[in-house]
């Protein structure tokens, strides 16, 4: 088990290192680190000094090492646009994105899995067909269009829910600003989390359905039928469990991509999160933020992936055995 965990951690570090290399390349060669410090009217002499003090004349490998060393300490440089440390900007916006992402993930799993199971078991029923068709509409509509549609319906026309922002937020333990504790905060969460979760939900529903149909055709289910087990035991004890084991992996990746997809939702709803910050960075060529966001997101993905792998191993006795051995 330990060997497996260590190997998995090493693998993750390799991935992170690759991404960091990419981030450094962006930071150093695509962006202009000097631009962080100086303005347009800084005299050339001054600029040269800044270059020197930043160590831009050192060998690239030294610079890379320095960049990594700082990145590990969460120092990603200064934003071109805001003239503030990147990490501070990201930290301020992280709670908004994470709360949105968590609620959307929960929604998409809590609704997507039962719908997938239902459409697989009642393949030919009217509802299953309707669900299946709706789900195709769900994956065909771009997220931003869904957001606009919801805003038009529930904010503009009906006026029930706010169309932008987080509502009233409360700061917990001095760092975390949460919208979960106020009515307006919760109301503000509804439309964005539906927008963000809908695509993932339909995706999960379709994946669960496909996986479950596959499992229902498998030999051990055939044998379970031949043993005379009740339909309920066959469907929910045997087929469902076999279906959900691989779905764990998907669900984990889902959370990761929900955080990335938040870029779109946050833009539509003017949600003050990391995604909106990243988009602004792309629009304004704010390389330090882009590089930092890339690294933070990949660190998140890699961690989630690793946890999912371990979880998978924990759930599936076959894997547990190979890992122990």
């Amino acid at each position: 088990m330990l060997a497996f965990v260590i190997r998995r951690i090493l693998q993750s570090c390799m991935v992170l290192l690759t991404v960091a290399l990419l981030a450094f390349t962006m930071f150093r060669f695509v962006g202009d680190p000097v631009a962080q410090i100086v303005s347009l009217d800084t005299p050339a002499e001054e600029v040269r000094k800044v270059r020197e003090s930043l160590g831009l004349d050192d060998p690239v490998i030294v610079q890379m090492g320095r960049y990594l060393y700082k990145a590990v300490q969460m120092d990603f440089g200064i934003s071109y646009q805001f003239r503030q440390p990147v990490i501070q900007l990201l930290a301020e916006r992280a709670p908004a994105t994470l709360e949105l992402a968590l609620i959307s993930s929960f929604l998409s799993l809590a609704i997507g899995i039962p719908m997938g199971v239902y459409t697989a078991l009642r393949r030919d029923s009217l509802f299953a067909r309707v669900f299946q068709s709706i789900s195709l509409v769900g994956v065909s509509l771009p997220t931003f269009l869904i957001g606009i549609l919801l805003i038009y319906l529930f904010a503009v026309t009906l006026g029930w829910l706010p169309s932008f922002g987080r509502g009233q937020v409360v700061t917990v333990s001095g760092r975390w600003s949460t919208g979960l504790l106020t009515v307006s905060g919760l109301k503000a969460l509804i439309l964005p989390s539906i927008t963000l979760g809908l695509y993932q939900m339909t995706l999960i529903m379709r994946l669960v359905r496909a996986e479950m149909l596959e499992v229902l055709r498998s030999d051990h289910i055939k044998f379970a039928r031949a043993r005379g087990l009740t339909t309920r035991a066959i469907h929910f004890r045997h087929a469902l469990k076999s279906t959900l084991v691989p779905v764990i992996t998907i669900a984990g990746l889902q959370l990761g991509s929900i955080i990335a997809f938040a870029v779109i939702t946050e833009t539509v709803f003017q949600w003050p999160g990391m995604g909106a910050l990243f988009l602004k960075a792309v629009q304004n060529v704010d390389i330090p933020i882009m590089a930092a966001y890339l690294m933070i997101i990949s660190a998140l993905f890699v961690t989630i992936n690793m946890v999912v792998d371990l979880l998978y191993a924990f759930v599936d006795p076959r894997l547990r055995a190979t890992i122990k051995g």
Binding site: V15, T18, V19, M26, V30, G31, S133, L136, V137, V139, S140, L141, P142, T143, F144, L145, I148, L149, I151, Y152, V156, S163, R217, L253, G256, S257, A260, F261, V263, I264, T267, V268, F278, L279, A281, V282, Q283, V285, I287, M290, L294, I297, S298, F301, V302, N305
Partner: protein
């Protein structure tokens, strides 16, 4: 239990090509699914309309000489204040929405198709090489693919976009937006092709005809292209169809986010983005009609892709 089912392509011998096509299982399955037929008609119609935009449109929305700001934000004809010159109304610049949609659809389609073609080319090439050469080359390609697969396509597209923008400092977006969108889509969607092709290549490369070609001394690129490719390309068809929908969504999303096509060369996404700004003032048509066109087109393509996947799956007849 062993099951034998007739191969998917089995068809009774016919005389003409037409009768052979009509007798084919795929054709049968196609006409048995009315939704797919409707989807096919719709998507062909939209594609044709987009390609023939200059003929069908009442004006060229890209031509500043034909656009007058005085005509801005006119509602569709059937509403109060509508203008018979602009059936679906106008946008904030005074462009006829109907014409803008036709031209915008054309832009979206060209970018989507080129992006998918680029992704397929990259993916198929790398997949063939990885599968055929194996060893370290394979390991490197597949590792890159694995890493990339953990990032959603939209994020990669945004990154590519940001990097190009940084490198092209000063030049205007009009000059490179088109190419960058294609590049972004190409670079974010290649992995699936590479994986599929690599899988089938691994199986095919040990077959006799490949051995024979190698023994005869044919150069590797020729073996890859002439012998291997035709035998592994099959499953790519479904991915192509589904990816076209995704690519068009990605283009629209990037343009909506303001990092795609500029308002002077509007794609559907750009139009929706413009319309979104006027939604609160009640000018619903600017966002609705382009949005509807986009949704119907992508939905049709996905319906076809979905049907194709089921129809080509030998396990479900």
């Amino acid at each position: 239990m062993s099951m034998q089912t007739p191969p998917a392509g089995s068809s009774p011998p016919g005389d003409s090509l037409w009768s052979r096509i009509m007798a084919h299982d795929l054709t049968y399955l196609f006409f048995r699914s009315p939704l797919t037929v409707v989807a096919a008609i719709l998507s062909v119609a939209i594609m044709l309309a987009a390609l023939m935009a200059p003929l069908l449109a009442s004006m060229d929305p890209f031509d500043p000489a034909q656009v007058f700001l005085a005509d801005a934000n006119i509602p569709p004809v059937w509403q109060d204040g509508g203008d018979p010159r602009f059936v679906l109304g106008t946008d904030d610049q005074g462009r006829d929405l109907y014409s803008a949609i036709l031209y915008g659809m054309r832009v979206s389609l060209v970018i989507g198709l080129s992006g998918v073609a680029l992704a397929a080319t990259i993916g198929i090439t790398l997949g063939l090489v990885a599968g055929y050469v194996g060893g370290r080359v394979d390991a490197v390609i597949m590792r890159v693919a694995d890493v990339q697969l953990t990032f959603p396509a939209i994020l990669i597209a945004l990154l590519v976009n940001g990097i190009v923008q940084a490198l092209s400092k000063g030049t205007s977006r009009e000059t490179w937006a088109f190419g960058v969108l294609i590049l972004s889509i190409g670079l974010s969607f290649w992995v699936q092709y590479a994986r599929t092709i690599r899988g089938s290549t691994l199986i095919e490369k040990n077959k006799d005809y490949i051995h024979a070609a190698r023994l005869v001394g044919q150069p590797t690129p020729l073996i890859l292209l002439r012998h291997l490719l035709p035998n592994v390309i099959g499953p790519v068809l479904v991915i192509l169809t589904i990816n076209l929908g995704l690519a068009i969504i990605t283009e629209a999303t990037l343009s909506f986010l303001g990092v795609g096509l500029p308002p002077t060369q509007p794609s559907l996404g750009t139009l929706i983005s413009i319309g979104n700004k006027y939604l609160f003032s009640g000018d619903w048509w600017i966002v609705t009609f382009p949005g509807l066109t986009l949704a119907i087109f992508v939905l049709s393509i996905n319906l076809i892709g979905d049907w194709l996947r089921d129809a080509l799956n030998p396990r479900l007849q």
